[in-house]
């Protein structure tokens, strides 16, 4: 073993304290007479002793501890142990690791991208996103309300998404503060605002697509994927500000979560179970006639479609 060795006190995988041992022998225990003091009530006052043998090897002795000393892998009680690089022993509730000075560390992690100012951190992005959110929410409420104008409702429709975005950002900021000692409030609010903006814009967008091109059920799949994508995108960036995980790890987690959500929500459809329903499933959006792009079919072709429909429902009747 090396001339200089390090004694590391572990907490999980992380090192809680590291002691440089230059001269042996060294004593380890809870008492203040030791070279290395461990604050673990299950460790004896005099617990361990490290010595260098004549052949240069470092040997660990248990000096009559109450609760004993254990080799970690494989787990075994020991009286004496010749230390190898990366050896681990347990005393009381504490795990100790010994490493020589010559221990080889892993390669430096290369930064994924050149550090630059992110879009969400620009002051104007914050202001613009929230203004756009309020404007879009207000307009869509106004356009979809065909009753007598209620200004209270309109005002509320604009304010609620704004409050929601700020509240949402507050939650994430606290998480960032705890995990990374910094709030990033503006970035979180911008991300949340952009996601809400996406939610506010998607119904009119889908109504337009559904009407103009006379699209049917295929659109529902696109819509589900888009919503998942939007939520996934928002969560990705929130998590990047909260954790130190690599982007690959975050993406992997989100993909697994999205697939899980998709499977759980569609499990009955995938199994071919359909609940009994008297509902009529067809697209309902009606927009001003000028927005229609799809051609109008002839009466003949429209009523031709009844034959395959009849076959469809006959097949359903035979199923069970």
């Amino acid at each position: 073993m090396d001339e200089v060795i390090f004694l590391e006190v572990l907490e999980g995988d992380a090192v809680q304290a590291r002691h440089r041992l230059e001269k042996l022998p060294v004593t380890v225990g809870r008492g203040y007479g030791n070279d290395v003091i461990l604050d673990d009530p299950k460790v004896s006052a005099e617990h361990l002793r490290l010595e260098r043998r004549e052949d240069g090897a470092v040997v660990l002795h248990d000096v009559g501890s109450v609760n004993g000393t254990f080799n970690v892998q494989p787990w075994a009680r020991l009286q004496e142990l010749v230390l190898t690089p990366d050896a681990r022993v347990a005393v009381g509730d504490t795990v100790l690791r010994f490493r020589p000075r010559g221990f080889e560390v892993e390669d430096t992690v290369v930064n994924e991208a050149v550090p630059r100012e992110r879009l969400f951190e620009r002051p104007r992005a914050f202001a613009l996103t929230l203004q756009a959110l309020v404007a879009v929410a207000f307009i869509s409420e106004r356009v979809t309300q065909f009753q007598k104008t209620d200004w209270g409702d309109l005002l509320l429709a604009g304010v609620v998404p704004l409050g929601l975005a700020l509240l949402w950002a507050g939650g994430w900021s606290l998480a960032s503060r705890i995990a990374r000692r910094s709030y990033y409030f503006r970035a979180h609010a911008t991300i949340g605002g952009m996601v809400l903006l996406g939610f506010a814009l998607s119904p009119p967008l889908f109504a337009l697509l559904s009407f103009s091109f006379a699209l049917g059920s295929g659109l529902a799949v696109v819509r589900t994927l888009l919503i998942l994508g939007l939520v996934g995108w928002g969560l990705y960036w929130h998590l990047r500000y909260v954790t130190r995980w690599s982007s690959k790890r975050v993406v992997r987690g989100l993909v697994i979560a999205s697939v899980g959500v998709l499977v759980l929500t569609n499990v009955s459809v995938m199994l071919g179970n359909e609940d009994f329903s008297e509902a009529l499933e067809f697209p309902r959006s009606l927009l001003p006639p000028v927005l229609r792009v799809a051609p109008a079919h002839s009466m003949d072709s429209f009523f031709e479609e009844l034959t395959p429909l009849a076959e469809d429902v006959d097949a359903l009747a035979k199923e069970d």
Partner: protein
């Protein structure tokens, strides 16, 4: 009576539905689940009709009625539908003997469980001193009559009258209302119901749940009709005796009672024949056009359809919706949960001077998203709907149309159809229309729906 939107047409429809229903609720209780239910009818002239009802006879029963009752009491019996697993009655009705060989007449709706669930139900007849098992020989679902038979010969039975009596004839309805014992009710014959889709005699007298399937007699004791339904307030309905005789004649010729599969086949054939009759009747007449704003929409296609219209006025609402709806208001009872033989449609003309094109679209989409109530049915009766939606050119008028179909599980070849369409020729007015056809073949449904959609046009 007509409210706003799609609701009113179907409140009327519901009337027709209930009017034939046995309300077979399995509620155990001293009354037992009765035959035809009482039905409140929200017709606009209900108050007037009420006033026209002749007052009940205040005096005690005249001697003739008393004698009549004593003479014929034994010819009427209570039918009990027995649920096999609980071994007790799940619903009751009345029946009356019409042959020495033990043939008796009742309503189809009294014995419908025997047809649809022969493995779960049996029937017995309570003859006062004893109960005897009953077998089912024939049913007519469109007229709501059935022929049943008991093993033992019967000494005393009714004869069916050959002719309809003149209007105003005093009649006597018999039956077992609410399981209270055999009763006799006086009333008057008021002819066949005008413009009815399914022939019914209008009997002015109290017919109550449990009396279903009992006879209505002339003063001489001949049967002139079979009790079938009530609208309350002394408005009762009978199956005309001619329909009962027709079914009985067929049943008397049977050598052996039919098995349950053969009964189902006969019900299917009757439903097919009935929808063919309605289709022929509608296709033989031109679809009259009804003006609704600048549009022409399908009007009252046939006298059996009853049409209503309304425009709610609210000065604060920035648009107006005028509704026009027609419905057969009658249907065929297949089971307590399944009705068929229905034609109904609703138009809603929407216009606004105050809303812009986008806000009008939101209103119009909301109306288009509301479907009329479908004909009542459950999972074991029908499949789910399947729809097809397109822009369709109706004689130069562009509409967004959807056609939906569901299949009958027990009666292959029969379907419920819903056609929905909204005109798209203007940005601040339009007509939203829906057609409901219950229990038609795919081909007939297509013909009727097409004729209906062709009835839609714009006059400018």
């Amino acid at each position: 009576m007509v409210g706003y939107g799609a609701a009113p047409m179907f409140s009327l429809l519901l009337v027709a539905v209930l009017a034939q229903g046995p309300a077979a609720v399995p509620a155990p209780g001293p009354l037992g689940p009765p035959g035809p239910p009482t039905v409140p009818v929200p017709v606009p002239d209900a108050g007037v009709a009420d006033a026209m009802v002749p007052p009940l006879p205040v005096a005690s029963l005249p001697p003739a009625t008393h004698e009549l009752f004593r003479r014929i009491q034994g010819r009427v019996a209570q039918v009990r539908i027995i649920e096999r697993r609980s071994g007790t009655k799940s619903s009751i009705g009345s029946a009356f003997f019409v042959s020495a060989k033990g043939h008796a007449l009742t309503n189809y709706h009294v014995v419908s469980d025997l047809v649809l669930h022969p493995e779960d139900y049996t029937a017995e007849l309570d003859r006062g001193d004893s109960t005897v098992p009953v077998r089912l020989l024939a049913v007519d679902v469109a007229s709501d009559v059935a022929v049943i038979q008991v093993e033992a010969p019967v000494a005393d039975f009714f004869k069916l009258e050959a002719d309809e009596p003149p209007q105003g004839t005093r009649l006597f309805a018999m039956g077992n209302p609410r399981d209270l014992g055999t009763t006799i009710v006086e009333g008057t014959y008021n002819g066949l119901v005008r413009d009815a889709l399914y022939e019914r005699v209008h009997f002015t007298g109290a017919i109550n749940p449990g009396m279903s399937g009992g006879p209505t007699l002339s003063g001489e004791g001949g049967v002139v009709g079979v009790n079938v339904a009530t609208m309350g307030n002394q408005v009762g309905f009978l199956v005309p005796v001619a329909k009962a005789r027709q079914l009985l004649d067929g049943a008397l010729k049977l050598e052996a009672p039919p098995d349950s599969a053969a009964l189902m086949v006969s019900v299917r054939e009757q439903l097919l024949a009935n929808q063919q009759r309605i289709t022929d009747r509608l296709m033989a007449t031109d679809l009259p056009k009804q003006a609704l704003g600048e549009y022409r929409v399908p009007g009252r296609w046939s006298p059996f359809l009853k049409c209503w219209g309304d425009t709610p006025h609210d000065p604060e609402t920035p648009y107006t919706v005028t509704s026009y709806q027609c419905s057969s208001e009658e249907d065929i009872f297949l089971s307590s949960s399944h009705r068929t033989g229905v034609v109904a449609y609703l138009h809603q003309h929407v216009t606004s001077q105050k809303l812009g094109a986008m806000r009008f679209s939101a209103l119009y989409s909301t109306l288009f998203s509301q479907d009329p109530d479908p004909v009542s049915a459950t999972r074991e009766d029908v499949t789910n709907f399947r729809c097809n939606s397109e822009f369709v050119d109706v004689g130069g008028l562009t509409v967004r149309a959807a056609i939906c179909l569901r299949s009958y599980r027990r009666f292959p070849g029969l379907y419920d159809l819903v056609l929905r369409a909204a005109t798209l020729n203007a940005s601040t007015h339009g007509v939203d229309t829906s057609l409901t056809l219950g229990g038609f073949s795919a081909e007939n449904a297509r013909k009727l729906a097409r004729r209906y959609l062709e009835g839609l046009s714009w006059t400018k």
